[in-house]
């Protein structure tokens, strides 16, 4: 591969020309610049609003609970002093006389947050409870109580019904709290300090990683795959446009007529495509980072304590590899795109090719794979793993250099391949295939 100093300037010139014509295309501007910037904030905003909406409604939804007790104890359910009083009070979070409120009175939505209402008390055991659940006006869940000490309560529900899942999620923590309360009460009554009930206490845990690397670690799961995808989609259309698109427009011949080496022309185009891919990727990453950062600050303001700092050093470490990767992607896509005669053909050729990129990218996102020297030579996989390791702060200069070298080698091979295709084309295969009879009229 001979890249002379002077012809490199030509390469740059051609690249610049291609970039100019792409950037002046409204569609490219829209998709490569506006869309990435706008997409993530909008999506996040919508997600937050939907979350608030759903949570608000869920909190103000009343759960209807049915209570079932053995027939001889039904009358005493919930009466003052019975064991069930405490349980039901804990579940409904109301005073006893408000458990079965008057259904004609309007529900006060302001205080009615996370409410549980007892609709009916029946007698029976487990089978009757199951039957009750499948009736038409069934409660959302049924609580089986035994009023004698030692008998366990049972909460029966169906997680696939409209509110069964909600009922379980709301009631179970309250029952657990009630159990704890009972233990405390017993302890008090027997003059036992509450702390004694615990034989082994949980003292919590501490994280010894620095804050910066926490954020980086979180990102290391998704970001590598995301970067691969975005580089690919940023390069996809430009690659086709610059090869097949030119043929369609008829400017391909003109370019070939320049007193410039074919390989140089190709390199210029690849550079242009790589630059576009890089821009799209950077914008995507920027927008995503800002949106997520925005979301985190919003959550921080809401009282949640999240210690995250943006890992700028990690980003700086990724950049050179990302640039090489963009070059590699551009070169590989161009190899196949340069054989296409029309835009449609180019797309058909590149479409399945994308799979070859997606599969290793997804594989690299799976836990457990580590960047070894052998893996560092496998094209897309090595980049994903390298990104991950860099974000996690792993120091492995040998492997990273191997990744860089292998990317470069493959890219150059691709450029060579594309040049070879071009040479073949000149040697006699027709440049245009008539897609239609004649041409469009004036």
């Amino acid at each position: 591969m001979n890249i002379q100093p002077t012809s490199f300037r030509v390469v740059l010139r051609i690249a610049w020309m291609e970039l100019l014509s792409s950037v002046r295309d409204r569609m490219t501007v829209l998709y490569a610049i506006v869309l990435p910037l706008v997409l993530y904030p909008v999506l996040l905003f919508v997600a937050v609003q939907v979350y608030l909406l759903v949570r608000g409604r869920e909190q103000h939804t009343e759960v209807r609970l049915g209570v079932m007790a053995p027939s001889d104890q039904v009358q005493q359910v919930g009466t003052r002093g019975s064991p069930t009083e405490g349980i039901l009070q804990a579940v409904c979070m109301r005073a006893p006389d408000e458990w079965i409120p008057d259904s004609t009175a309007p529900t006060d939505t302001a205080t009615n947050v996370e409410a549980v209402r007892i609709v009916e008390v029946r007698s029976g055991a487990r089978e009757e409870a199951l039957a009750w659940l499948s009736q038409t006006d069934a409660p959302d869940a049924v609580l089986l109580v035994g009023t004698a000490l030692g008998a366990q309560t049972e909460l029966v529900y169906d997680s696939t019904t409209e509110r069964g899942d909600l009922a379980a999620r709301r009631i179970q923590p309250r029952l657990a709290t009630q159990a704890e309360n009972l233990r405390l009460v017993t302890a008090q009554r027997n003059n036992v300090p509450p702390a004694r009930m615990d034989a082994v206490a949980d003292g919590g845990r501490r994280d010894l990683s620095p804050n910066e690397s926490k954020a980086a670690f979180l990102m290391s799961f998704l970001l590598p795959m995301l970067l691969v995808f975005m580089t690919l989609s940023g390069a996809f259309y430009p690659a086709i446009d610059v090869t097949a698109g030119e043929r369609e427009r008829g400017t391909h011949d003109t370019t070939l007529l320049l007193p410039v080496d074919r390989a140089t022309v190709l390199q210029g185009k690849i550079l242009a495509v790589a630059a576009l891919a890089m821009t799209a990727t950077l914008l995507n990453v920027l927008a995503l980072g800002l949106s997520v950062g925005h979301l985190l600050t919003m959550l921080k303001g809401g009282g949640a304590s999240l210690d995250f700092d943006v890992p700028w050093t990690a980003f700086a470490a990724i950049t050179p590899l990302a640039l090489l990767f963009a070059f590699f992607v551009a070169a590989s896509l161009m190899v196949f795109a340069s054989r296409a005669k029309t835009f449609k053909e180019g797309q058909a050729a590149l479409g399945p090719l994308q799979m070859l990129f997606y599969l290793p990218a997804m594989a690299g996102a799976m836990p457990g794979l580590v960047l070894t020297k052998t893996l560092a030579c496998v094209p897309v996989l090595n980049v994903v793993l390298a990104f991950r390791d860099l974000l996690k702060g792993r120091w492995a200069p040998v492997e990273y250099s191997l990744v860089a070298i292998s990317l470069l080698v493959f890219a150059l091979l691709a450029v060579r391949g594309a040049t070879w295709f071009l040479q073949r084309e000149q040697e006699g295969r027709p440049l245009f295939a008539f897609a239609s009879f004649g041409r469009k009229s004036a």
């Binding site: 409604r57 159990a179 034989a199 003292g203 845990r205 994280d207 980086a216 925005h294 799976m366």
Partner: protein, 681 residues
């Protein structure tokens, strides 16, 4: 067969032949899914399994100091740990660490010592007793751990340890309670939770979460290339003109193509479904193992596709409508990406099973189909909800299919007179104004949001004065230049309109009272989640002195927001649209900029009223006055003042004054036109 139906059949046949003979497309649409599905699932399953195995067989190194535990617990802990997986434990002396308080933030020296003790191990555990208590037997020993969250092995170590610890704690507590009281007093309450969910239904529901997303992807993927080939391809091939000269109705051609698009898409979807089922049958999908459940799944999957047909009809119609506008394949492709995103959004699953959301989703295009699919997969396909959803989707589809017939109108098809482009060319002013406003909204949301998160008071001031105001001026400047007016004229600042000013002010109390009612009403349907009420959002603002509050909350938005929305935006829109459309757009955008679904309706209505005020008086001052008064009244209400209910009646004279101002302006205009005509004559 009549000539017409024979023509239709021939059109369909020719279209199908063209598509079927495209070997590459056929391969991609029909053969690839059958191959890719099993392959993808197999690979991901394999990777997942090998990852899991690797995790479980990993030897975890623990640095333990468990001397403070009693004998029984210690042995239990180690046994439990060993049960979780291979471990390599190293006993250390972590007494120094017990001096640090676990409940307060970590100090650097604690970090240092813990890191030193942790060394090469994945997890450091130390058990300390609280030295401040009189007798060591009064308090329980506390188990503390230190880990590195950026190390996968460390996380795994913590996971295993937590599980072991939980077991030990539970048994230790039970022993202690029995020791103290003879029994566990809480046991009577400990409820078993018995989920009666049918496992197939549960699985179906889980699958249903992402099934509609996959369906829409596949649907758009297959339908788009067929639609492109059928419509844009016709133009590219140059065969469109020939078709149009045939003695058949243009509608017939469009309908034939539509039918082909639908049929091929359905076929492609079915093949994809088959691929998925084949994968399930091969046992490659976790959770769908037994043959019985696979058969059940097959029935449900095809029922789901059946229920999805209205959506297919709708999406195919939409895609045909879009691709027919494209002159080339490439243009068609460019139009498809935003469509894909728009179509994707309604498919997102809504958490919870709120009836209001469910039924409104059933009637929404696309979301209804997603709902129907989910219900069918979960086994409750035969319900009123699903039936309503299908019917609604069919109705929506019909609306679009009707328009397909007009697609191949000769004039439009040959782009000799593109009415859409023509209309767009005439609406340059309004589009410019819209673009500026959208940019402003985006900037206000992103930059303003960040500023306000940093400092609420300063951020709010900066957002309005520093972003909204300059953008409003810039946007209006372009409009002013094009209309050859001064900036003040465009913004509506030159005319004072005293009648309208007074009228607007009189409206303020009624609006303030109405806002309260509206909000209460909204709360019934769209309740705010706990902790998100006004107080928590406005935080720092509420502590300001009254004058500052009035300035920041009443005066500042009145000026800046009015200049942007009723000034720049409205004047741009006014050039090209009528009153109603202008008001609608201004109201919607005003509602959106407040970036909250709970404030959308109140602010939207306010925006509409302010827009009407501005339009009727051709001046911005009444709107500014009304906005300031309205916000001011709300601030005073927050201070404890109550607006007397009777003051709402002031709105009537207010409206009268506004109407009077409108008449005045119209009469002035008529006089102006008459003078001009006279001068010209």
């Amino acid at each position: 067969m009549s000539a017409r139906s024979r023509s239709f059949a021939s059109l369909v046949r020719v279209e199908c032949l063209s598509i079927v003979r495209d070997r590459r497309a056929m391969f991609a649409a029909f053969v690839l899914p059958l191959v890719l599905f099993p392959l993808l699932f197999w690979i991901s399953g394999f990777l997942e399994r090998s990852g899991k195995e690797r995790m479980e067989s990993m030897v975890i190194r623990y640095a333990l100091d468990v001397r403070a535990l009693d004998e029984v617990s210690r042995t239990e802990l180690l046994t439990a740990l060993r049960e979780e997986g291979p471990i390599d434990e190293r006993m250390v002396d972590a007494t120094l660490l017990c001096g640090f308080d676990p409940d307060s933030a970590a100090t650097p020296s604690e970090h240092e010592q813990a890191t030193a003790l942790l060394g090469e191990a994945e997890l450091l555990v130390s058990v300390c007793t609280d030295p401040s208590q009189a007798s060591a037997s009064e308090t329980a020993p506390r188990v503390r751990r230190w880990l590195r969250s950026t190390d996968e092995a460390s996380l795994e170590a913590d996971r295993r340890f937590t599980q072991a610890l939980d077991k030990v704690r539970l048994s230790a507590r039970t022993r202690r309670l029995t020791e103290l009281f003879g029994t566990d007093p809480g046991a009577v309450v400990l409820a078993k939770a018995a989920d009666q969910a049918d496992p197939t239904t549960a699985r179906g529901r889980k699958f249903g979460l992402w099934a509609p997303l996959i369906l829409i992807f596949t649907l758009v993927g297959s339908a788009s290339w067929v639609a492109l080939a059928a419509f844009a391809g016709e133009r590219e091939q140059g065969t469109l003109e020939t078709l149009l000269v045939q003695p058949i109705d243009g509608r017939l051609i469009a309908q034939a193509k539509y039918v082909v698009v639908v049929v091929v898409t359905l076929a492609s979807l079915s093949v994809n479904a088959l691929g998925f089922l084949a994968t399930a049958g091969l046992g490659l999908i976790s959770g769908m193992d037994s043959a019985g459940s696979a058969a059940l799944a097959a029935g449900r999957v095809f029922a789901a596709i059946g229920v999805y047909v209205p959506c297919v009809l709708l999406v195919c119609a939409v895609l045909c409508l879009i691709t027919a506008r494209a002159k080339t394949f490439r243009e068609g492709q460019n139009l498809l990406l935003p469509i894909m995103l728009v179509l994707l959004l309604p498919m997102v699953p809504l958490p919870g099973r709120d009836p209001l959301l469910l039924w409104s989703a059933a009637c929404t295009p696309l979301a209804g189909s997603a709902l129907a699919v989910r219900e069918t997969l979960a086994g409750s396909g035969l319900s009123w909800l699903v039936a309503t959803a299908c019917a609604a989707q069919l109705a929506w589809a019909w609306l679009f299919v009707r328009r397909v017939g007009r697609l191949l109108d000769g004039e439009r098809a040959l782009a000799a007179g593109d009415e859409e482009r023509e209309a767009a060319a005439r609406a340059v002013q309004s589009r410019r104004a819209l673009r500026w406003t959208m940019g402003a909204i985006f900037a206000l949301y992103v930059v303003g949001g960040a500023l306000q998160a940093w400092n609420l008071v300063l951020g709010l001031a900066l957002t309005l004065w520093g972003i909204a105001l300059p953008l409003a001026l810039l946007s209006a400047r372009g409009t002013a230049r094009r209309a050859r007016e001064s900036l003040g004229q465009t913004l509506g600042l030159t005319r004072v309109a005293p009648l309208a000013l007074l009228g607007a002010l009189l409206l303020a109390p009624a609006l303030a009272l109405g806002a309260g009612e509206l909000f209460a009403l909204q709360q019934r349907i769209l309740p705010l989640p706990d902790g998100y009420n006004a107080e928590s959002m406005l935080g720092a603002l509420l502590t300001l002195p009254l004058w500052a509050k009035l300035f920041l909350i009443a005066i500042t938005p009145a000026i800046c927001e009015e200049l942007l929305f009723r000034g720049a935006l409205l004047s741009g829109l006014r050039r090209d649209h009528g009153w109603w459309r202008t008001t609608l757009i201004v109201a919607v955008l005003f509602g959106l900029v407040h970036a909250s679904i709970y404030r959308f309706l109140p602010t939207g209505l306010l925006g509409a009223i302010l827009a009407m005020t501005t339009l009727s008086s051709r001046s911005l001052w009444p709107a500014i006055a009304l906005h300031a008064a309205y916000n001011g009244l709300l601030v005073m209400q927050g201070e404890g003042w109550t607006v007397p209910a009777a003051s709402a009646w002031l709105a009537l004279p207010g409206l009268a004054l506004l109407a009077l101002q409108l008449r005045l302006v119209q009469t002035q205009d008529q006089e102006h036109h008459a003078n001009e005509a006279q001068q010209r004559a």
